[in-house]
């Protein structure tokens, strides 16, 4: 896994937030977590990746951040449905960005949105994920990347 690959996924999210009314989005220093203890907030949008690398990439955020995100996009209806929608939007942006960056070599799935506990995200237990914190307004979300090289 190269930093370039990681960057492609993060850029998708950063770009998304740059288009909100509060453009001030910051990327925190990335770190590793064991997949036995995944980093998950209230809502998560997951995309599957295959190709030279395969695995999972997800965007996870607390409810409060997503509510503010909706508001900053001019959407005042902060229902559960809309929140799931916006998580999906962000995940879509990640996958869209990845598609355009990686081109044909990679296959990127359509995002799946989930609400709640980390048990619903299944990742290889023996692997580690990269967690890249995203700070926006007073809140933090994260892009979590768990990819392994297909050649090994």
């Amino acid at each position: 896994m190269s930093e370039e690959t990681l960057k492609v996924f993060i850029d998708g999210v950063v770009n998304y937030f740059r288009h909100t009314s509060d453009k001030d989005v910051k990327v925190g220093s990335p770190y590793l977590v064991e997949n036995t203890h995944p980093t998950v907030f209230d809502y998560t949008g997951i995309i599957g990746v295959s190709g030279p690398y395969k695995g999972t990439v997800y965007f996870t955020a607390p409810k409060i951040l997503l509510k503010h995100l909706l508001l900053s996009l001019g959407e005042h209806e902060t229902s559960n449905e809309n929140i799931l929608d916006i998580v999906g939007e962000v995940a879509n942006t990640i996958s869209g960005n990845a598609r355009s960056e990686f081109g044909q070599e990679f296959m990127i799935s359509v995002p799946v949105m989930i609400e709640g506990p980390p048990t619903s995200i299944q990742m290889p237990q023996e692997l580690r994920s990269y967690v890249i914190p995203i700070y926006w307004k007073a809140y933090s979300a994260a892009v979590v990347i768990c990819l392994e090289s297909s050649s090994s």
């Binding site: 896994m1 190269s2 930093e3 990681l6 960057k7 993060i10 950063v14 910051k26 990327v27 925190g28 220093s29 990335p30 770190y31 590793l32 997951i46 995309i47 599957g48 990746v49 295959s50 190709g51 395969k54 999972t56 044909q104 070599e105 296959m107 799935s109 359509v110 995002p111 799946v112 619903s120 995200i121 299944q122 580690r128 990269y130 967690v131 890249i132 914190p133 700070y135 933090s140 090994s152």
Partner: protein, 697 residues
């Protein structure tokens, strides 16, 4: 085409032809008889006219007789007679021989010769009567004087009055007879029509009955064939479908196909729609080109099976969780012919994931063992004890690094501080790797360090600048894991076979302790010499040797890192630039083993212990205020009081003093720490020593 159509539907075609033929002949007959009846009708009319004409002739005769005096009237009456005679004569001979005569409306009418017996008799008799009658009547018409005319008239009238009724009756008979014939023909026509229609109906019912039954039977056959096909398609566990030359999938396909591809309603999809999202575009394009070859008649399909790009293809199917499920499919293609032309291609898809995974696992195992051998050769030269310590050290350092990364920080300043903190760890990992000649670790750590320098040089740092660091971090963790796995394996070999060469490094000389002193002091930029005594002179059980080894390593680390001062400091203190560590093993009595490790360093710094104790959160300042020097020093044996946590630069590498204390206690031994500020530190351990068979050796 036509032939096969006839073949299949011959019976129905023949039956329908028969039906049409029957209808046509009835129609023709109908026409024919209708014309005949029309002829007969005009015959009846004309014979009726004969009746009338016979009477008119008589009337004309009398007319002539009355008009004798008047030449104009006479001439008119004679002319009328002439007309009547001619008409009667031609009509009669027409009935006799068949000819065309002038009809009532002045148009020519064709009269058939009468054939029926009664009509014949009537005509023949009439002819007999008519012949002399006609002569007499013609005589009347000849241009003669009135007297002669009177003579001839009386002859004609007397013949007429004698035969007129007979002639009338004969003409009447003829008319009746002709009417009878006509009506019998009409009856016949009705019969023929009735019979024809009946036959046609019968034919129709036969067709209906027979062919409906046949249709029903063939429908049933088709239905049961269809059922069989569906049953096969539902139960077969291969993916089956037909593909036409536009790459469109047939409407029928095996149901397992939907499962395999996690798609519904596959029929009618193009190959592109089915495979587009699960194989690469390149594979899809190649496959389409390959399939196009299969539709070419001039190519033998057996001769291109090697070119099938989908013979073993990795597919990625997204599940409901958004994850890609990795599978391996094998596609085979067979031509389907219809009328000797390639109509479709039958595609068979098999899931060969298990087989491929098995193959891969075998290859992977092979590769892993090769890689392990590589790692093994890179670390083989390293002292196993030191290596274990080093790897442990690396893990601790890396988890520290990760913890630093994990702390939330957004500002440039905070990120720069992180960078510095991380650098300390990485630099040490690199330095130690270098001193142990662990090239692989050194290389990764060096890259890591380079990345840090690069980031530092940036004007402004953001979190994403740290991406290369976390990538290297993972690389280091992975490498450390593989080395650890290997050293554990080696250790298990060693304990299974204590006399193995690797273990024997420790057994005799204890030289690895010299290596350790050198490594750690180099890293700490200190000068230290190690003096060992008694280690090789006493035979120790495996348990004791391991314990003493661990105490020695822990003690050496503590002494070099915390105890012994830097060369400059030492010179200032008039101590000589090189520090000294003494390790001694002796029997103080026949049953007690004494082990000590002593340095001439700074002594234990109680202030630092105090600070670390507070930081650990296990003790409050008030508690610590109540501790005397001895109690304070004893804290180093407390669980959770790790030097690694205390001084980040000196990540604990040993098993930890608390563990050592427990092990000593378990052997009913005692552990003592003596320390004098500025003079040095001594750790003494005394352990009850049971004589063993080894002593004899």
């Amino acid at each position: 085409m036509l032939h096969t159509l006839l073949g299949k539907y011959r019976n129905i075609v023949i039956s329908i032809a028969l039906f049409l033929l029957l209808d046509a002949s009835v129609l023709l007959l109908n026409f024919y008889i209708s014309f005949e009846i029309a002829d007969d009708a005009s015959g009846v009319n004309l014979s009726g006219r004969q009746r009338m004409l016979s009477q008119r002739m008589v009337k004309s005769l009398f007319d002539i007789e009355y008009s004798m005096e008047n030449p104009i009237e006479l001439e008119r009456a004679l002319k009328e007679l002439n007309l009547t005679v001619n008409l009667f004569d031609t009509t009669l001979s027409a009935f006799d021989q068949g000819a065309t005569v002038t009809g009532a409306d002045g148009e020519p009418v064709k009269i058939q010769q009468v054939t029926s017996e009664k009509a014949r008799v009537a005509v023949d008799n009439a002819k007999v009567i008519w012949k002399p009658y006609k002569v007499l009547l013609e005589d009347v018409q000849s241009d003669v004087d009135l007297f002669e005319l009177g003579e001839r008239m009386s002859a004609a009238i007397s013949y007429a009055s004698m035969n007129n009724l007979t002639l009338l009756k004969l003409m009447n008979d003829l008319t009746i007879e002709l009417e009878k014939v006509a009506s019998s023909k009409a009856t016949r026509l009705r019969i023929i029509q009735t019979v024809g229609i009946t036959l046609a109906l019968v034919n129709f019912f036969i067709i209906m009955f027979h062919f409906l039954r046949q249709l029903k039977e063939s429908d049933q056959k088709v239905e049961s064939a269809r059922k069989e096909t569906i049953e096969i398609l539902e139960t077969v566990n291969e993916g089956l479908f037909l593909l036409d030359n536009n790459y469109v999938i047939s409407s029928q396909y095996s149901s397992v196909l939907e499962e395999m591809f996690a798609r519904k309603k596959i029929g009618g999809m193009t190959l592109e729609e089915l495979l587009g999202e699960i194989v690469t575009n390149k594979d899809l394009e190649t496959s389409k080109r390959f399939i196009a070859l299969l539709f070419r008649e001039d190519i033998k399909s057996n001769l291109i099976s090697d070119l099938n790009p989908l013979r073993k293809i990795e597919v990625n199917i997204a599940d409901s969780q958004g994850r890609f499920i990795n599978k391996f499919f094998s596609f085979t293609f067979e031509r389907v012919y219809e009328d000797n032309a390639i109509k479709d291609v039958l595609v068979t898809v098999n899931d060969i994931t298990e087989r491929v995974i098995l193959e891969r696992e075998l290859a992977l195992t092979k590769e892993q063992s090769e890689r392990q051998i590589e790692v093994l050769t890179s670390i083989l030269h390293a002292n196993p004890e030191l290596l274990q310590i080093y790897v442990k050290d690396v893990f601790n350092s890396l988890s520290e690094v990760n913890a630093i990364l994990r702390e939330p920080s957004k500002s440039d300043v905070a990120l720069r501080r992180k960078l510095n903190d991380i650098h300390v760890f990485i630099h040490r990992i690199k330095g130690e790797a270098a001193s142990l000649s662990l090239d692989s670790f050194e290389e990764i750590a060096h890259e890591f360090e380079q990345n840090i320098h690069e980031i530092r040089d940036k004007k402004e740092i953001g979190g994403d600048d740290f991406l290369p660091l976390v990538v290297r971090l993972e690389k280091l963790v992975k490498h450390a894991e593989s080395v650890r796995t290997l050293t554990e394996k080696l250790a298990s070999f060693a304990s299974a076979a204590p006399s193995s060469s690797i273990r024997s490094i420790n057994d005799g000389s204890w030289n690895h302790l010299d290596d350790l002193v050198q490594t750690v002091s180099e890293r700490q930029e200190k000068k230290v010499s190690l003096v060992k005594s008694g280690l090789s002179e006493i035979d120790l059980s495996e348990e004791l040797r391991s314990l003493i080894n661990d105490i020695a390593i822990q003690g050496i680390r503590n002494s070099v890192v915390h105890g012994i001062e830097s060369p400059d400091e030492r010179l200032e203190l008039n101590k000589g630039d090189a520090g000294r560590i003494d390790i001694r093993l002796a029997r103080s009595s026949s049953s007690v083993l004494e082990f000590s490790i002593k340095d001439d360093g700074y002594g234990i710094d109680s202030d630092r212990i105090r600070a670390a104790a507070i930081k650990s959160g296990n003790w409050t300042e008030e508690q610590l205020d109540g501790f005397d020097q001895k109690r304070l020093v004893s804290l180093i044996f407390e669980p959770g009081f790790s030097t690694a946590k205390e001084h980040t630069r000196d990540a604990g590498g040993g098993v930890g003093m608390d563990v050592i204390k427990k092990r000593v206690n378990a052997l009913r031994g005692k552990i003592r720490v003596q320390s004098r500020r500025g003079i040095g530190t001594k750790i003494s351990v005394s352990i009850p020593f049971v004589e063993s068979a080894e002593k004899a050796a």
